[in-house]
């Protein structure tokens, strides 16, 4: 790339993230170019990039509060600038925490902190929770979910301790609903958004798993699509069609490289606004 990310998806590597290479591989799996951008490189290298991904992990070791130190980093000036002019930006897990702490999500008041990703609230346990869950693709203008069918229940892994979307400002929640910014909700395998653990795995308000900005080019989501991009990543005991596909592929190495349920988040990027329908 000769240093420039023009035409490529830039995966921002803050100190402490650990999903940057999987995220890049997931982007490449749909035929787009991707590269790792270290947080202290020249911001101008991002000019002309086709998308930005803030990957999962523990930026700055989650010091003070997950995502907050990276949110104050100067490279976020550039991310904010590019997001504002429509560059697709995806924050996955810790990346979602960064986007929320930076005020790019929900972005109703740009760069104002209108939300938190607070510590999980779960029945009879606390702290880190790692499992496969289902999220429902909601009706929204989100670019990153465009390749999914509205109402589709998507199996996908989560792994976090601070994933509870919450706000003190009821007006913000109302506005997000009205604007169609709630892109993903936790649901069961049949698509019902039950507000109880484990369907809602972290106590998130309104079962929210992912929020986009109003324009739809920025998405903060707690689940990990890069960990469900290939069929080999799907557990054999998963409920539903993806579990059946995975079981049917057992013993056939070639089929393990088939598409997994999370890949369409990345292939949505190829379709521009509204995504590329599968």
């Amino acid at each position: 790339m000769n240093g420039s990310f023009k035409g490529h998806v830039a995966i921002i590597q803050f100190p402490g993230v650990n999903c940057e290479y999987e995220s890049a591989a997931a982007v490449r799996s749909i035929g787009l170019g991707a590269g790792i951008f270290r947080w202290n490189e020249a911001p101008a290298l991002l000019d002309g990039c086709s998308g930005i991904i803030l990957p999962g992990g523990f930026s700055y070791q989650d010091r003070i509060r997950a995502g907050v130190v990276a949110a104050k980093d100067r490279i976020m000036d550039k991310v904010s600038e590019l997001a504002r002019v429509g560059t697709p930006v995806l924050g996955i897990c810790n990346g979602a925490q960064v986007l929320v702490e930076a005020g790019l999500i929900p972005g109703i008041h740009w760069e104002k902190v209108d939300l938190a990703l607070a510590p999980n609230v779960m029945a009879d346990r606390e702290g880190y929770y790692c499992n496969w869950v289902f999220v429902r693709r909601e009706k929204s203008a989100c670019l990153w979910t465009g390749a999914y069918v509205e109402g589709e229940a998507i199996p996908i892994p989560i792994a976090h301790a601070e994933g509870r979307f919450t706000t003190e400002d009821a007006g913000v929640l109302d506005a997000m609903r009205e604007n169609g910014q709630i892109a993903l909700r936790y649901c069961d395998a049949a698509g019902a958004a039950l507000d109880s653990f484990p369907v809602n795995p972290n106590g998130s308000m309104d079962n929210i798993a992912g929020i986009s900005n109003r324009e739809g080019n920025v998405l903060a989501m707690m689940p990990h699509p890069e960990r469900s991009t290939w069929l080999r990543q799907v557990p054999e005991d998963l409920t539903g069609q993806w579990g059946r596909r995975r079981r049917a592929a057992t013993g056939e190495a070639g089929r393990m490289e088939d598409e997994g349920p999370g890949r369409a988040f990345f292939s949505s990027l190829r379709g521009g606004k509204g995504g590329e329908a599968r």
């Binding site: 010091r63 907050v68 104050k72 702490e101 760069e111 104002k112 509870r164 919450t166």
Partner: protein
Amino acid sequence: MKTATQLWVRLKVIDLVTQTARITLAEKLDFGDRLSGMTHYWYWAMDAEGESSEKAIAAEVDRVIRLDSAFTNQNKHSYRLAAGGAALGDLALERDYAVSGGPAAGAGTAAGVAPAARGRASAGGATAGGGLFAFDCLVREKRPDREAAFAERLNARLRGVVVSNMKCGELWRLITAAPSREAALADVEKMLVSRSRREGLLLNPHYQQYEIIDSRRIETGPSGADARAGE
């Protein structure tokens, strides 16, 4: 007897969280010329009630918090337990007001003060009521059930003592140079509350809250090399 009890816990080694917070506040949020020091504690406050003396109540609470790693881990933590007039533990809280060294010194342990801030604090303190001000800011989650869970945890282990009215969280001691206490407090509020990408760091108001549990003006000597808590 019911005794107001407080527990401060701090790392024995350099606290990298505090280092990061200080660098972020100074270099990314432009408080470098005012933030003169900071220290980070885990903090619990509660009422401890028992039939025995204040000293015996403190000793019983001390026995439990030394054994339970939810409160202290003797391998890595120093602590101070204060119950009424009784005080236990090896943490010298007053030392964290010390004004010594340059900006990098003591960022994680005691409060280092930037040379520029020292000079201005001395001048301001001498002439206009300004100077160095220390604020102990308790950041708590807006979840009383978490605090109640700490009380339950203690009560399950205490013998002859019951604790109640638990309040706990992260305690940040912020030392700022300012022309007045009001100005210092305004800066502290801006350092604490994340309101936008460019303002605030130490708490997210959508699930956390803060209160100032102690504040004081710090007297500095002519060289800025010594300090003692005023007021």
